[in-house]
Subunit: 125 residues, 2 copies
DNA sequence: ACCAAAGATTGATGAACTTCGATATGAGTA
DNA sequence: TACTCATATCGAAGTTCATCAATCTTTGGT
């Protein structure tokens, strides 16, 4: 059970990081992210883990003025309006899109810095 | 139906990009990624969309020598060995981890440039 | 050849997710 | 007020996913 790399060393009470106090076999390198951080970051990647949502981001980003309303988005994706609304809500909840209602229409745009913040979640793993 | 922004213009046969030849209402900005590209990229984000897989990447990255074997990974995550093997396979299939078998042990390490390539998938949306 | 240990694979179960049709909400208009 | 249109929400159906226990495969040692 994990004896090949010297963990379970009895003489050395190693300085446990706040992360993973119960772990013994993590091979004594850099501390890794804890479960809470992992869940936070995973929730953002979950929002990106659907091809239709990636296309929504792509279309919104490429639209003139940097914004698009739901009626502009249903046809290119070949999805029903409730489904598109659902996906947009997921992207908004993930902090990637911003929603602004003007009159009857709801305009969606990229949250400034959201892409950079997300790439940071990967680079700082 | 999408009449507020001038799509469905009858006089102009617009040069349809290979992407989305059937779309009419995408508001005439930059071309967006097609469904195939979206599925390719989503498959990578799907691999990242699980907290335990993010922790696996984090632990592997932080391990001495940049590699870790399965027995080093099951305990910190508090998951069974088959489950960890399953997650590792998903990360390997996504091109994020490399697997090298030495003796009885399987050592996993980050694929060089994988993180940068993944952030590129986001920035080029 | 036999045994033990590490890791992968299989099959099952419960949860989460995508999608849709139907309906509700809310703003603009006659 | 009544009507229409854009969007959001609800409920259901089908699919995918995470996890586990059990089993198989492979490697090293005796």
């Amino acid at each position: 059970m994990c004896v090949h790399n010297g963990c379970m060393n009895p003489g050395e009470t190693l300085e446990l990081t706040p992360v993973d106090a119960e772990a013994c076999c993590e091979p004594s390198g850099q501390p890794s992210i804890d479960d809470y951080e992992a869940q936070l970051r995973a929730s953002v990647f979950k929002a990106l883990a659907d091809p239709n949502r990636l296309r929504l981001l792509s279309i919104v980003r490429g639209s003139e003025g940097g914004e698009a309303c739901v009626c502009d988005l249903t046809q290119p994706l070949n999805l029903g309006q409730p489904t598109v609304s659902h996906h947009l809500k997921i992207l908004v909840d993930a902090g990637l899109l911003h929603r602004e209602k003007r009159g009857t229409w709801a305009y969606y745009s990229l949250v400034p810095g959201a892409i950079e913040r997300t790439t940071g979640l990967l680079e700082s793993l």
